[in-house]
Symmetry: C2
Subunit: 304 residues, 2 copies
Amino acid sequence: MTQFNEAELTDAVIGSFDQTPDARARFLLQELVKSLHDYVRKTNLTFEEWGAAIDFLTRTGQTCTASRQEFILLSDVLGVSMLVDAVNHRDRAGATETTVLGPFYVGEHRVTPHGTDISASLKGEKMFVQARVTDLAGVPLAGATVDVWHADDEGFYDSQRPSYESEGPSSRARFITNSDGRFFFRTILPCSYPIPTDGPVGQMILQTKRHPMRPAHVHFLVAAEGHEPLVTHVFIAGDDYLDSDVVFGVKDDLIAQVEQRSDPVMPDGKLASGPWYLMTYDFRMKPGAGVAPRPLGTIVPEPV
Amino acid sequence: MTQFNEAELTDAVIGSFDQTPDARARFLLQELVKSLHDYVRKTNLTFEEWGAAIDFLTRTGQTCTASRQEFILLSDVLGVSMLVDAVNHRDRAGATETTVLGPFYVGEHRVTPHGTDISASLKGEKMFVQARVTDLAGVPLAGATVDVWHADDEGFYDSQRPSYESEGPSSRARFITNSDGRFFFRTILPCSYPIPTDGPVGQMILQTKRHPMRPAHVHFLVAAEGHEPLVTHVFIAGDDYLDSDVVFGVKDDLIAQVEQRSDPVMPDGKLASGPWYLMTYDFRMKPGAGVAPRPLGTIVPEPV
């Protein structure tokens, strides 16, 4: 029998993967076939629509470079990245919430002394960040590594700037918690920013009348021995886009009140040069194991 | 409320497309979100699996060129192309069955006199093709255009050869049916061939222990006024891969008995140079309208 009706066609494609050696790969592929076929049947997808999808996927792949991952952006704006995060973190009662890693993590940062101004070369409003890393019972975790990165006052990450290769990192550092589980540093107040809108994903967002904005945030990747690595952001209370993050990454637990201050002295006893903001946040780590995510840029291959 | 549980997250992403101006685009996107999210939840997709999917899609996009469409190949081997064909041709009782266009259609061919040997420059066993185009009642359709293309005796299409630009088409032509609805030409007997296995899609086929073969066939694209354009293949009875076409394109109605002959004269009265094969096929056209598909290569953009 070579001829299939629609249901037989689906069964034949599923059956074609029966010999896949790895059971998990077989399951994922066969479920993918079911899902794709159900979609085509439910939507009665036309040839033109199918062709537009092929075209969109092709352009999305061809927009990826060593420093840009348009398929991750697609996953982000369709809420898939946050859902993958959710299904892999179903039991975090009491621990700090997770959110997306995002495409701007470039791997381990250089260890930096507490108090350093990591945005010294940038304009912007000054911010002092003081934070603590504890276990679920509030016991401080000393020696934890904390990678930090955020966008500049124009909404760009250092790695998006042409000068990144020559000038090195900015608004990006690693701190090690002290015996109290504390770390602190100076930087600028980040602002909300749009995802790139010059590629197929950003264009789709604009065409569907969604806004492309992410609310202002600082990324944190915290790793402490005996605990699950924590990938998260801290968002800044009052941002206009907290309720409509284009990548659906906000959680209530991750919003910090960032206070405007005019004290002449900052929390580490050094003089302030003018008004400044204070961000305070405590990270509660979940016991367990696991490896920190690799930088997503590393999975982008060269074009063939 | 900014924080979502898994179901709320899906609802939020669906809702984010509510302002999409085109109702059909809105429907397709919102169903896509449901489908993708259901897949992630059902499979409990891990971060590593998600990363592998991002990597696969990226490489698939980056394998596409002006003469290669790896995403169409992916659609083909997952049975999606044949399913799109099926849902768009649900009522063809009495008409010749359709199948995939495939990635090797390059657009309108040059009109060629009946009897021409369209594979004159190739080695291979000689074949004479005689065919007729009729309506559903068997009434001949004169003046119909018939585009024909097939692989050579090594399983490659002319457009896959580096010499294609300089030497022009081979095993590829357009015929116009005569007053009897007939057309005929000479060529070589095509053979079964593998899809490209040097890209991510072919690699996936090999890794899942599927074979990459398509059974031997000749492509036909028939267009007659007052009738739906017909995109199909004629397959050659007895081929080893008729029951396991890697793109699921075979239909019983499309398999022709190709007879081996030793008559010294071919059906058009001209001498044969040795043994030859005879393919005979009648195409029954469905009344209706519609435009012939555009060549799929035309939707491949240049890399950005």
